[in-house]
Every structure is written in structure tokens, then in C-alpha cells.
């Protein structure tokens, strides 16, 4: 997975479709990111934070029971073990350092499940930035615990009441804030979405997941790469980071979307949130609401690089339903003693299905990114399962 074009395109996807007020800011951000990324001092500071603060590298765990039951070698990249409990921290630490470097003291973010919001509030607390998190009203209710965590960390949480009141609308309101505050404010997007350079930059900040896993798999598999590399996809940041470590190998890359938010599966090309990508739309081009049991995947679009990987056939995108996801959640919990977040439970649900159908042949090696831990979802699952 290489550089986008000068116009920020991955093939036909990406670009910078923002109100004129934000065009200079996106350019400034791109320049700042490129300079920081090749600055050894910046990278050393980031690596230091990732190691001593976030707890990297995270291990790869081979599932003892499930591997036997499924007849494969199932390996989990354990992003659930990072500080704050998901891969979101990787990107946020990078962007928060960048905000400081750019002299912006106000740090705004959108969040769906709350993991990116918690990570943003955490990094802002650590680095002395003022944090404001936009969160759809629906998500505020289903992720109460994360809302409280963000407040404890000193962030202001703004409940978004426009549209479907989920992640899409939180992004809209964060963009509206940024249009008005661009001179003093850094907008920390949580996924590989938005105008250029965000999809590229966030993937670069997340590629630590894939780069580590590549090396760890080499050790575990005696020098080879896994046959399958699987990750869940909402906007697609953990998948982009994971795939970045394996795109130049023979590994089959599989992104797993929720059935009710399968932008690569059922969406068509459009332009929203600053990017040309695939979106769920009605016949007139109005953006439809996504529906998923996991707030983090409740997004009707997908990152432009995923749209591109899908178009060129380098990665395939599958979708799973809420019932399968709940089954996968319970099965991993009871067999391996790991409570996954509902988001990566999607990836696991597809693995179970593909092992059943033979799409993943017996004897395969499979790496899955366990992007976050399930603590945040326990209350909601308790309600669903009664």
C-alpha cells in the first residue's frame, strides 16, 4: 500500500472535497504530516509514547481451543491490550503530537463507539490539549460508560442531534466546528476517512499494527506469512493498518463489514465527508443510515483506500449479520477467555462462517486483528441477551 497521488487519490477514490475554508488547512496538515513523518525526532517521540505509554508492541496470541475446533491456526493481533483498549490510540498519539507540533491547542474528534473519543481525550490529557468530542445522541446512550470516561479525562462531549444521531452525523458536526475554528483547532479524524491527507495519514499511523504482526507471524509461522489476514471494517482504520503490513505478500486480505453498513459490499461511489468513496445511498444520492449492533461500524461509507483495494481485487470485503456477531462474541469469550469488542467480533464471525463453508480450508493460517476489547459492550450485550 503506497502513497496516494498528489491529489490524494487511491485510484479513483479519495481527494479533498471540503468547503473552501478548509482547503488551506488540509494542505497545511499534509505538509506538517509529511515533514513530521520523515523527522527522526518526531518518530522517536511517537515510538516512545507507543511503547512506554500505550504498551506496544501488542502480542499475537494463537487461540488454543478455537484453532483445534476450526482446524486452522487462528492468531489474534491483540490491540485490545493497548492502553485505552483499542487500536485507536495508535492514530491519536500520532495526531496529538502533530497538533502540538503545529501549535494547535484545541483538539476535536468525532466518535462512534467512543473508543476514538476516549483515545483522543486520553492523548489530549497527556499532552495538555483542550479536547472536544462529537458523539451522536444514539451512541451517547448506548456507550454511556465511554462518555463518562471521556469526561473523567477532561474532555467535553457534545451530543449530536442531527440526522441519524450516529457516527456519520458526529463527523458532520465536527466538520462544521472545524470550518469555524480552523485557525486554532486540530481535527483528529479517527479512521481512514475524510479529505486528503487523513486517509493516508491515519493508515500510516495505524500501520504499526500490520508491521508488528508481519514480524510476529514470521516468528510464529517459521518464516512465512499467514494465508488469510482478516479485520473488521467500518471506516476501516484497523484493517488499513493491518493490511499495510501484508499487502506486498501472498496473504489473502479480507475486510469484514456489518450487513447494515456494507459500503464496499452494497454501496456505490459518491462524495461525502471530504472523500470520493463507496457509500450507502438511495436512488437520488441521499446518504442512508447504517445499522449495526456495533456503534463503531455504524458508518455508511468506507475509507477510500479500501474502495480502491476492493476495486483492484487486492482485498475482498465480506459482510456478517448481528446474530452471527453475537455468537462469535460468546464463542471467543467462553473458549479463549477473551472478550472482544463487537467490532472485531464481526471479523471473527466471518472466519467461523468461512471455516464452515470451506472458504478457509482446513490447515490454513489466519491472522485476525482483535481491534479492541469488549468491556465497553458488556452492558449493551447484557441487555440484548437478557
Amino acid at each position: 500500500m503506497g502513497e496516494p497521488s498528489a491529489a490524494g487519490r487511491f485510484g479513483d477514490f479519495g481527494g479533498r472535497f471540503v468547503p473552501e475554508s478548509l482547503v488551506p488547512a488540509c494542505q497545511e496538515l499534509e505538509d506538517a504530516f509529511r515533514a513530521a513523518w520523515v523527522d527522526p525526532a518526531f518518530r522517536a517521540e511517537l515510538d516512545d509514547l507507543l511503547h512506554y505509554y500505550a504498551g506496544r508492541p501488542t502480542p499475537v496470541t494463537i487461540c488454543r481451543q478455537l484453532s483445534k475446533e476450526l482446524g486452522i491456526t487462528l492468531m489474534l493481533k491483540r490491540e485490545d491490550l493497548t492502553h485505552t483498549g483499542s487500536h485507536k490510540i495508535n492514530n491519536v498519539l500520532g495526531q496529538a503530537l502533530l497538533a502540538k507540533r503545529m501549535g494547535k491547542r484545541r483538539f476535536i474528534a468525532e466518535t462512534g463507539a467512543g473508543q476514538h473519543g476516549v483515545a483522543s481525550a486520553t492523548a489530549a490529557a497527556l499532552l495538555g490539549l483542550d479536547c472536544v468530542v462529537y458523539m451522536g445522541e444514539v451512541d451517547v446512550h448506548r456507550q454511556e460508560l465511554n462518555v463518562f470516561r471521556m469526561k473523567l479525562l477532561g474532555a467535553e462531549v457534545i451530543s449530536v442531534t442531527s440526522g441519524a444521531r450516529t457516527l456519520k452525523d458526529a463527523i458532520n458536526d465536527a466538520l462544521r466546528d472545524w470550518v469555524a475554528s480552523v485557525e486554532t483547532t486540530y481535527y483528529c479524524i479517527g479512521s481512514v476517512v475524510g479529505p486528503h491527507p487523513y486517509p493516508f495519514m491515519v493508515r500510516q499511523f495505524q500501520r504499526v499494527v500490520g508491521d508488528e504482526a508481519r514480524e510476529q507471524c514470521r516468528e510464529l509461522l517459521g518464516g512465512s506469512v499467514p494465508d488469510f489476514v482478516v479485520a473488521c471494517v467500518g471506516g476501516g482504520s484497523n484493517a488499513a493498518g493491518t493490511f499495510a503490513g501484508f499487502a506486498d505478500t501472498d496473504a489473502r486480505l479480507v475486510g469484514v463489514e456489518p450487513e447494515g453498513g456494507a459500503a464496499n459490499g452494497r454501496g456505490i461511489a459518491g462524495v461525502v465527508h471530504g472523500m470520493r468513496s463507496n457509500f450507502l445511498q438511495d436512488e437520488a444520492g441521499q446518504i442512508e443510515e447504517a445499522h449495526s449492533i456495533s456503534a463503531g461500524l455504524d458508518y455508511p461509507g468506507v475509507g477510500p483506500e479500501h474502495a480502491y483495494l476492493s476495486a483492484i481485487g487486492r482485498a475482498t470485503y465480506e459482510s456478517v449479520g448481528d446474530a452471527e456477531v453475537l455468537d462469535a462474541f460468546r464463542r471467543l469469550s467462553s473458549t479463549e477467555g477473551i472478550l472482544p469488542a463487537l467490532e472485531p467480533a464481526h471479523a471473527l464471525a466471518w472466519i467461523f462462517r468461512a471455516c464452515d463453508s470451506g472458504e478457509i480450508p482446513s490447515g490454513s493460517t489466519v491472522l485476525m486483528t482483535l481491534s479492541g476489547r469488549g468491556d465497553k459492550d458488556v452492558a449493551e450485550i447484557m441487555e440484548i441477551l437478557g
Partner: protein, 264 residues
């Protein structure tokens, strides 16, 4: 500039401006209620020089609460791009009609097809606030080929060199966003409105209109000491949401017309 092709919107606005008149372009949300096309007629009579019609979009990131609410209300009534355009094609009021919407609705139909459809409906210009100059090439070619003026926007953060290029590329008028922020009423006129208007006037002979945050006759007068005119959106749409109808809309725009005409 000598072989610069201008469409019907720019011809009309230049002619009005050149005879010393300050320009008013009111904005309303298409499909807001049963009488939205009657509002257009009333605005023309009240002294609008062109009328901007918003085609409601599900995710209007450049719009504040008032126009968001109007968009939701219109969409909930079943308003579609097709329904707005069909009604516009039957609405001839003697001043140019300009469509404002978001690029996804235009890209979804296809740039070529949408440009032709709009032209066939007698739409004279189009504003797409999330299609900045760098991404607008294909759309501007298709619009020009169809005889539609593709209006470009400048913002207070636009650097000088870029502002010059946008002013050069814009057709119909130059839409100068008066402040850093989304659409909505403001109690005080932002000083940035006058600054951005002057920067554009120094660059171009194309009419320069300031929009976003222009809320009343006093603010319109202040801006027109520099700019060629104003776009009035949220202040008007709020009146429509409040149920003031065509009469209230015409009354409000009439006040602004009178205030400008008494000065110039």
C-alpha cells in the same frame, strides 16, 4: 479574460451591477413546503436579482442549524433533486435561478447529465460548496458546455494566489464566504466579510457577493460599501420555517432592497 465565456447568470448580474444597483440573492430550500415556488415569485417581485434554491441533501456540512432543519423538513416531505428541478422548470419569474446543493447529488446523477437537466429546467447557475477549485475541473467543463455558470467560493482563509485563481475561474459571480463558519445568522457583522469582499474586488470584475452571516438590512448595507451584493440565506429560511410564507419572505427582502436602494 478577452475570450471568457459567461452564462446568463453572470450577464444578468453584471448588467444590474453596472447600472449602479446593489445585488440581492436570497436563498430558499427547495421543496420546503407546498408554496415554495410561490415564495420564489414573491422574492423576484420584492427585488431579488437572482434566486438561490437549495436542493436538500442528507449531509449538509456547510450549513448551520436553520438550513439543516429546512433540509430535514424538505426531505421528510419526500423532496428529491428531480422534484425540485421539475418544479423549477415550471417557475419562470424573470430573474435567474441558481441551484445550491452538495456535490454528491450532482455526481450521483452524473455531471454531464445533471448539467443538461438543469439547463433544460432554465437554471442559470450552480453552487457546490463542497467542490473546491482543485476538484472542480470536470464539473466546470460540463457546466460551461451546458451554458450554466459554475459559481466558485472563496473563504477568509483562502491565500492570495489561490483567491486570484478562484476569482478567475468562477462564473456567474464570486461567492465570498464572509466568515469562518457555516451558514447562519449572526448578530454582529464579521469584519472578515469586508476584508474578503475587498480582496475579491481587487482581483476581478466578476460580481462579488458576500454570503454566510448576512442577517439584516444594516449588515447588507455595510457589506455593499465594498461588495457588489449579498446572499441572504438563514435569516430568510428562518422566517419560512416560522410560517411567515411568501408574504413574510417578500417583506424581509423588500426591506433589504429599500435599504440598499436608498444608499445607491
Amino acid at each position: 479574460m478577452s475570450d471568457r465565456i459567461m452564462g446568463p447568470l453572470e450577464e444578468c448580474l453584471r448588467a444590474q451591477r453596472d447600472r449602479g444597483r446593489k445585488l440581492i440573492v436570497p436563498y430558499i430550500t427547495g421543496g420546503l413546503d407546498d408554496e415554495w415556488t410561490e415564495v420564489i415569485s414573491a422574492l423576484a417581485v420584492a427585488g431579488a436579482d437572482a434566486i438561490e434554491i437549495g436542493i436538500p441533501f442528507s449531509d449538509p456540512v456547510m450549513d448551520g442549524p436553520v438550513i439543516q432543519e429546512a433540509s430535514v423538513r424538505a426531505l421528510e416531505r419526500g423532496t428529491t433533486p428531480q422534484s425540485v428541478i421539475a418544479e423549477l422548470s415550471r417557475t419562470q419569474v424573470g430573474v435567474p435561478l441558481v441551484v445550491m446543493t452538495y456535490v454528491n447529488l450532482v455526481a450521483h446523477a452524473g455531471f454531464h447529465r445533471m448539467a443538461k437537466t438543469l439547463r433544460d429546467a432554465n437554471v442559470a447557475g450552480v453552487i457546490l460548496p463542497d467542490l473546491p477549485l482543485d476538484e472542480a475541473g470536470e464539473w466546470m467543463s460540463e457546466a460551461a458546455a451546458a451554458g450554466i455558470d459554475a459559481v466558485q467560493l472563496v473563504a477568509p482563509t483562502t491565500p492570495d494566489e489561490r483567491l486570484a485563481r478562484i476569482c478567475e475561474a468562477s462564473r456567474g459571480f464570486v461567492y465570498a464566504v464572509g466568515l469562518l463558519g457555516v451558514t447562519g445568522e449572526r448578530t454582529e457583522l464579521a469584519n472578515s466579510s469586508l476584508v474578503i469582499a475587498q480582496r475579491c474586488k481587487d482581483e476581478t470584475t466578476t460580481p462579488v457577493l458576500v454570503g454566510v452571516g448576512v442577517s439584516n438590512p444594516e449588515q447588507a448595507v455595510a457589506i455593499c460599501s465594498v461588495a457588489d451584493g449579498v446572499v441572504i440565506g438563514s435569516a430568510l429560511v428562518r422566517r419560512l420555517l416560522d410560517g411567515q410564507g411568501a408574504e413574510g419572505a417578500a417583506g424581509f427582502i423588500g426591506e433589504i432592497r429599500a435599504a440598499l436602494d436608498s444608499r445607491w
